[in-house]
């Protein structure tokens, strides 16, 4: 079974993808605070790519930064396709939510 780290690596290999951001930044920040202040080493941080496996479906949430030389729609579609390919062995349909959160501008 593919892990979020596996999927993240595959996404980063797509032309036009500059970075992968935390899918749940607020959650990550809160968990980070808890881990640092209350339970050092005892809390697992959420992965950058979120994969939610439910009884009848799998949902994936990805936030990326892209390069302005590439069209956002094409990059986002490529990300969705790569995620689906990575999770092809899942037993249920996979829905992919891709957000382009930043576009690096190269003039």
């Amino acid at each position: 079974m593919k892990t979020p780290a596996d999927v993240r690596e595959a996404i980063l290999s797509i032309p036009g993808v500059v970075t992968v951001y935390a899918a749940r930044p607020l959650l990550r920040a809160m968990v980070g605070d808890v881990a640092a202040g209350l339970a050092p080493g005892g809390v697992e941080e959420p992965a950058d790519v979120e994969i939610k496996r439910r009884a009848d479906s799998t949902h994936v949430l990805v936030r990326i930064g892209s390069d302005s030389a590439f069209a956002s729609t094409a990059v986002a579609r490529a990300v969705a396709a790569v995620v689906r390919a990575e999770l092809a062995a899942e037993a249920h349909p996979v829905s992919v939510n891709v957000e382009v959160s930043s576009v690096r501008y190269a003039s």
């Binding site: 980070g32 986002a76 992919v96 939510n97 957000e99 382009v100 576009v103």
Partner: protein, 203 residues
């Protein structure tokens, strides 16, 4: 071709990160912040930092000159610019992108788009973006919008060709990066800086 409708998609991302432009400014000045780990990996914070860096590079000399000449502590044009940056350094609305699979939901954030417009303008000679607003409903693919941009121009640059070039560049970038139907791009020149500076650095 599937279309995205709303932001109520399962797994929709969290809202804005909650860090202020003041925190980013302090981080830029000191290189330290309790939230540095977050700032280094947050798209909105990174956009804000990039805008602040460009602003600092462009305005350092202007601020000195304004203070020397006017002998006043308040710089209304800079305050206004910072207020706009404060509003724009957010993820904002999610602008849908068309998909090939009906199970997918693809978006670009409003914050990513406005940061891109700022980057386009701020790297043009003679221009400093003061404000950028997307007006109109962006909830469906192909929505028609209007863009309102306010700029400060530097003395010596012909204003109309400059505005035309900015309009053309922005329209091109939006055509590539969004599927919005871009109507008018209104450019308002709100200030002309009389002091000569070198774009992207100090004079």
């Amino acid at each position: 071709m599937a279309m995205n409708g709303t932001n109520d998609t399962p797994g929709a991302a969290d809202a804005d990160c909650g860090h202020s432009i003041e925190e980013l400014q302090e981080y830029l000045e000191t290189g330290e912040s309790p939230a540095s780990a977050h700032i280094d990996t947050c798209p909105e914070c990174q956009s804000g930092l990039a805008a602040l860096r460009r602003l600092r590079a462009l305005t350092g000399d202007l601020i000195s000159a304004d203070v020397e000449e006017a002998e006043k502590e308040e710089l209304p044009w800079l305050d206004g610019l910072m207020n706009n940056l404060r509003l724009e350094t957010r993820a904002g609305r999610r602008i849908p992108l068309s998909t090939e699979d009906e199970l997918d939901s693809l978006f670009i954030t409003e914050g990513a788009v406005t940061a891109l417009v700022r980057a386009v303008g701020d790297t043009m000679e003679g221009v400093l973006i003061g404000k950028c607003r997307i007006q109109g409903d962006v909830d469906a693919v192909g929505s028609e919008i209007t863009l309102d941009i306010e700029i400060a121009a530097f003395f010596g640059y012909p204003l109309l060709p400059m505005a035309e070039e900015l309009r053309r560049e922005v329209r091109g970038v939006l055509a590539l990066q969004t599927e919005l139907l871009v109507g008018d791009i209104n450019i308002r020149i709100v200030k002309i800086h009389e002091h000569e500076i070198q774009q992207g650095g100090s004079s």
